[in-house]
Structure formats: structure tokens, C-alpha cells
């Protein structure tokens, strides 16, 4: 019933030539996504800023939000910057409600998000 989460890791370049890791999520982000989401996070360098791509995500529940907060916990420890893009208006509202937007800027598309890092 739940769509599996697939996470791929890309690299891009942001403003001033900074190297950025991009985590691209596909499917649902829920309680069954832990290995895919946090496993991918552990694969990115601890010095690079990170973009989170939600363009192909349809469903995020509170367990999925907890996984995103866990990524932000790790980023906070290392001082990594995080930005997100591709969220539907509804999930932009939800992320703002729970306070995620205070730790990860929310942007409409990848170029805008990359330029913020």
C-alpha cells in the first residue's frame, strides 16, 4: 500500500562554485523510508551543503517528517546548510507549520534552492 522510497544522490554546483549534494526522493516518505532516507544522508559528505528534492514525492506523513528532522539534526551537528525544493504547496505549508523551514529553506525549484546555499 505504501510506495517504496527511492533516494538517489546527485551533485551540482551552487553560487560561487560551491559543490552541493542533492538527495532526490521518489515515492512516499513514511515510517518505512528510514533506510533509504537516512542511508542516503550518511553517503553525502559532511562538509557539503545539501539539497533535498521532493519533486517526485506524493505523500509525507509525520513519520517521514521525523526522518527529515533527523537529517536536520545531523546537519546541525556539522554546520551543513540544507535547502529543499519541489514540495507541493500543501507540504510547504506543513513544513512551515512544524518549523522545518527555519532549518531548511523551501524553494520552488532546484536553481533557486542551489543559489541559496
Amino acid at each position: 500500500m505504501q510506495a517504496d522510497t527511492k533516494t538517489t544522490i546527485d551533485r551540482t554546483t551552487g553560487a560561487n562554485g560551491v559543490s552541493i549534494s542533492v538527495l532526490r526522493f521518489t515515492g512516499d516518505i513514511s515510517s518505512t523510508s528510514k533506510e533509504s532516507v537516512l542511508g542516503a544522508w550518511q553517503s553525502v559528505g559532511s562538509n557539503d551543503p545539501v539539497l533535498l528534492d521532493f519533486t517526485k514525492v506524493d505523500y509525507i506523513n509525520s513519520s517521514g517528517i521525523a526522518l527529515i528532522i533527523q537529517m536536520l539534526m545531523e546537519a546541525d551537528k556539522t554546520g551543513q546548510k540544507v535547502a529543499a525544493f519541489g514540495l507541493t504547496p500543501h507540504f510547504q505549508k506543513v513544513f512551515t507549520m512544524v518549523g522545518i523551514s527555519r532549518y531548511a529553506g523551501l524553494y520552488k525549484d532546484e536553481p533557486t534552492a542551489a543559489a541559496s546555499l
Binding site: 500500500m1 505504501q2 513514511s30 515510517s31 518505512t32 505523500y59 506523513n61 509525520s62 513519520s63 517528517i65 521525523a66 526522518l67 528532522i69 533527523q70 536536520l72 539534526m73 546541525d76 507541493t88 504547496p89 500543501h90 505549508k93 506543513v94 507549520m97 512544524v98 518549523g99 522545518i100 527555519r102 532549518y103
Partner: protein, 154 residues
């Protein structure tokens, strides 16, 4: 638009995570027939999903022999959703989540469900059966709050 006033729709789900999507789709269909906007339907879907997940996990302890009931009822200007389980309900509301404490590892990163429910619907009430035979959460969205939500989200 179909006149849904006074109608009731019931769904029973196994206590298996993922099946909350059936309740989300059903609630969305009824809300659409009732004339709610797409934005409010998305709010309702998330609230219903979180209520179902709480019922499956905390109420029924993920025992698939126990089902979660969803009853959707309409009146002239509102849609009510009851999500029922076999648990004893909550004795008190948890404190609101604190994102700073969560990010700094001082608070469990989970625990956003009830907060989201309260933020996304016009009314949310957790009710314990007086005989200890189950509990339910009651969610309400109202048509006359449509414009207020539009303004809040701008």
C-alpha cells in the same frame, strides 16, 4: 455538485500502516462532493492520515486483527470524520512540538501527528469511551471557514 447533506460513509481498515491512504482517498472524495477547495481537501487528507496512523499504532498496537473505523458524516455546512480504534485513548494532550529542541536532540523527532491534526482542521476532539471499549478522534472541517483558511495561507 451532488447533495451530500445528511449522508454517512463508513470504512473499516486493517491496522496496517499504509492503509490510511484508503481513508484519505475516501475523505477527499466526500469533501470534493461537498464542495471544499483543493487546499482544504489536502489539509483534511493529512489530518485523516495522521488520525488513522495514531489509531493503528497507539490504539490498536498494529494488531491486524483489530480494525480502524472511519465514519464520514455531512451536514449543511460541515464534514465530520470520526476515526475509531480499540485503545483506551489519550489521558492528556501532549505538549506542542518544539522544532529547536528536536533539531538539537533534546526532544524525540517524532510526535508531530496530533499537532498537525489540530492545525489542519477546524475542530479536533479526542474522546475516550466511558466503558473503556475504545476511543475515537473527531475531526470537523466547515465550509464557512474556507475563506479564513485561504487568508491564513496567503
Amino acid at each position: 455538485m451532488t447533495d451530500t447533506t445528511g449522508t454517512s460513509v463508513e470504512v473499516r481498515l486493517p491496522s496496517r500502516l499504509g492503509f490510511e491512504k484508503v481513508a484519505m482517498a475516501t475523505a477527499a472524495s466526500v469533501a470534493r462532493l461537498k464542495g471544499f477547495s483543493d487546499e482544504r481537501i489536502e489539509d483534511l487528507k493529512t489530518a485523516v492520515a495522521e488520525a488513522c496512523i495514531n489509531a493503528m499504532e497507539h490504539g490498536n498496537k498494529l494488531n491486524e486483527n483489530l480494525s480502524v473505523g472511519i465514519i464520514l458524516s455531512t451536514s449543511a455546512d460541515e464534514l465530520e470524520v470520526k476515526v475509531l480504534d480499540n485503545g483506551s485513548g489519550i489521558s492528556r494532550q501532549p505538549p506542542p512540538p518544539n522544532i529547536d529542541r528536536k533539531v538539537h536532540g533534546e526532544e524525540d523527532p517524532r510526535g508531530m501527528g496530533m499537532f498537525l491534526i489540530q492545525k489542519l482542521v477546524d475542530e479536533a476532539e479526542w474522546v475516550r469511551d466511558s466503558k473503556g471499549k475504545g476511543s475515537y478522534v473527531r475531526l470537523v472541517i466547515r465550509l464557512d471557514r474556507e475563506n479564513e483558511h485561504d487568508k491564513e495561507s496567503e
